[in-house]
């Protein structure tokens, strides 16, 4: 079936809820109205108010109670309306959910999925646009998942729900309705820690995820017309990270461009860069380049300047080749 990314998320939730009655879906505006982006549309109607419900407006409360539900043996799927609103729950995420298994010696675990739209490109200003995945990737105990296609969105969300550990599932909101693709019917999982080779190539490796994937694809297409063969790799999960695929591609092409819309300094690109430097530097033909957001708060008017676009990515690809 052809679905948009948000329809694939909706389908994943319904498909899995039909199989597993421990799954609870909740958050602000998630129940009756089906979410501000309509990701949970029709779920309360099909599964009732016990399994899909609206919560009071407190992110701290949503995640704190979700941790308790997960401890109790449920499979909570909590929605945080925008990633930018998650910080009241940060304590529960990084100090509680993430550490429960370790700090209890494996006696307790928190199989919790936190779905939240992230990223810019919808003219949402500072508080509806940020990409702070690195904060979560920097917290042991959390998994960080970012799909870029409808098929992956469904498979990765089902994997998240079935996972025994807490998962931050970041949804690229600018792709919610702008990408459409074939999605298999029924339940299936997309494994964590396996990057997707979007396009095979020989000259430059471009590592990206989420909303940057279509942009890198477009840049790669333009590069092909200029005679440059670009390999585009969608990481899909930052934690666990597909170390093998990253190194394999970097060793093959010897030229690396990393693209994310998050702030450059201490962004996840720095980690990929360090990984390649530590383990594959002898294969490199030039410096590892990063195309990222700037070290500023997310702007409104200059959003299109702040966000990497195909042109900036192409410039970096050419720079890597010309070194």
């Amino acid at each position: 079936m052809m679905l948009t990314l948000i329809q694939a998320i909706n389908d994943a939730l319904k498909t899995e809820m039909r199989i597993d009655d421990r799954i609870l879906v909740f958050g602000e505006d998630v129940g009756y109205v089906g979410g501000v982006f309509r990701a949970t549309e029709g779920i309360q109607k099909e599964f009732g108010e016990k399994r899909c419900f609206d919560t009071p407006l407190s992110e701290c409360g949503i995640i704190g109670t979700a941790v308790g539900m997960a401890l109790y043996g449920m499979r909570p799927v909590a929605e945080i309306q925008f990633l930018d609103f998650i910080y009241p729950a940060f304590d529960q995420i990084v100090s509680e959910a993430a550490k429960m298994r370790y700090r209890s010696g494996g006696q307790f675990n928190v199989p919790l999925t936190i779905r939240t739209p992230y990223g810019g490109g919808i003219k949402g200003g500072h508080y509806h646009s940020q990409s702070t995945e690195a904060l979560f990737a920097h917290t042991p105990g959390l998994k960080v998942v970012i799909p870029s296609t409808p098929e992956d969105a469904k498979g990765l969300l089902i994997s998240s729900i079935r996972d025994e550990d807490p998962v931050i599932f970041l949804e690229p909101k600018r792709l919610y309705r702008s990408v459409k693709g074939e999605v298999p019917e029924g339940a299936y999982t997309t494994p964590f820690g396996k990057a997707r080779f979007v396009k095979k190539g020989e000259d430059v490796s471009v590592f990206c995820y989420g909303a940057m994937v279509p942009i890198c694809e477009a840049a790669a297409q333009e590069a092909t017309q200029k005679g440059i063969s670009v390999e585009v790799i969608d990481l899909r999960t930052l934690v666990p990270l597909d170390v093998d695929s990253i190194l394999e591609s970097a060793r093959k092409t010897g030229r690396v461009v990393i693209v994310h819309e998050a702030v450059k300094t201490a962004g996840f690109g720095a980690e990929i860069s360090a990984l390649i430097s530590e383990s594959a530097i002898e294969y490199l033909k030039g410096p590892i380049l990063r195309v990222c957001g700037f070290d500023t708060p997310f702007p409104y008017t200059f959003e299109h300047v702040y966000l990497p676009d195909a042109k900036r990515v192409l410039t970096a690809i050419e720079k890597a080749i010309q070194f």
């Binding site: 701290c60 704190g64 109670t65 308790g68 449920m74 100090s95 298994r101 209890s104 010696g105 307790f108």
Partner: protein, 371 residues
């Protein structure tokens, strides 16, 4: 301010109000009393071990042992979301002494594998959820477990513990609000010991009666003499019964006093007047329950002496047993971060094990804990 403080026993252990006197079997009463005496003896012994440098840290609950009665009032299937001064609750519910003491040593006998500082217990069989250091985080979690129980139609109740300081935390407000809105079968047990480390209650909140805070969230708040084990049992049991019948949450304010320091690192003489200790020594929960048991004819000074001696012996023997544990194996440093170890972590583990082979031992140069 018409929230009376519920009491069953007076300061001499005489029953003030027989209508609230719990109908507990002799066995249950002795179990309750024993857990309180055990907790007191552990305080003495563990604090001494901390002073001798044998363990790194300890939190005492001297003066607050009547909290045990709340644990006794809960069913085995209920969930406990403790703060860090509820040893008596764990012990009365069957948290084994060996596991309790091993946690303080953080060795390979420790259930939490040396991953938390002393006093941060976790015990799955008694559903005693892992203790956290940040204040209040367990409160909203308890509400979530209660919501889940209600959704599933289970007759399970959650109880969560915190101090007067904890009522200022985000999770207190969020948890109370969620519990009210969802009618969650949850008990909020606030041990109001009047100080959050050094900060007195009047600087914590403008509402001197913590029980009254429940009104803002649409449910019942009860004030109880937190040094009266029978009153604590009575209000907890009543709250648990109500929760089980679908009548929602309750906030219990147990008015009490910490007779010792906040922790082994704290010096309360810097902030708490001496007279306060004299005043509260008269309200000692263990003595009051002991007097009650003697009056009831099921206890005596001789039995008491024998109990204290046997507990001391048991503690000593158990310490001897658990202190002999070896350090946890180095690989446990990397385990239980996730159910499955990611590649990045696996590489770090292999690198460390390699380093260990070369180095032999790792020197521990940590300083003493200040809080």
């Amino acid at each position: 301010m018409n929230n009376p403080m519920i009491q069953v026993l007076d300061l001499d252990g005489k029953v003030i109000d027989a209508s609230m006197e719990p109908k507990l079997s002799e066995e249950k009463l002795q179990k309750l009393y024993r857990s309180m005496v055990l907790t007191r003896q552990l305080d003495e012994r563990c604090l001494a071990m901390q002073r001798q440098g044998r363990i790194g840290f300890y939190v005492t609950s001297t003066g607050q042992e009547a909290v045990a009665a709340s644990g006794l009032a809960m069913e085995a299937t209920d969930w406990i979301f403790p703060a860090y001064r509820e040893h008596a609750v764990g012990l009365v519910r069957g948290f084994p002494l060996k596991d309790f003491l091993a946690q303080l040593f953080g060795n390979d006998l420790d259930l939490v594998k040396g991953r938390q500082m002393p006093n941060h217990f976790a015990h799955r069989p008694t559903q005693y959820v892992s203790v956290s250091s940040p204040i209040g985080t367990q409160i909203s979690q308890a509400v979530g477990a209660a919501m889940a129980a209600k959704i599933r139609g289970d007759k399970t109740v959650s109880i969560t513990y915190f101090g007067d300081g904890g009522t200022s935390s985000n999770d207190f407000h969020a948890g109370m609000n969620f519990a009210g809105a969802f009618g969650a079968p949850c008990i909020f047990y606030c041990s109001n010991n009047q100080y959050a480390i050094s900060v007195p209650l009047e600087k914590q909140t403008a509402q001197p009666l913590i029980a009254e805070k429940a009104l803002a969230y649409g449910f019942k708040g009860i004030r109880v003499d937190g040094n009266d084990a029978l009153a604590v049992y009575h209000v907890t049991k009543e709250s648990a019964d109500r929760a089980r019948e679908g009548k929602g949450p309750t906030l219990i304010e147990a008015f009490t006093f910490r007779m010792g320091a906040h922790s082994s690192s704290d010096d309360p003489s810097r902030y708490c007047p001496k007279e306060k200790y004299e005043e509260w020594a008269k309200k000692d929960p263990i003595r009051r329950l002991k007097q009650y048991l003697i009056r009831k004819g099921i206890w005596s000074e001789e039995k008491d002496q024998a109990l204290v001696e046997s507990i001391k012996k048991e503690i000593s023997e158990t310490i001897e047993e658990v202190r002999k544990g070896a350090p946890p194996s180095l690989s446990t440093l990397f385990e239980d971060v996730y159910a499955e170890m990611p590649k990045t972590l696996l590489l770090q583990k292999e690198a460390l094990l390699e380093e260990a082979k070369l180095k032999g031992t790792f020197e521990d140069t940590s300083e003493a804990f200040p809080l």
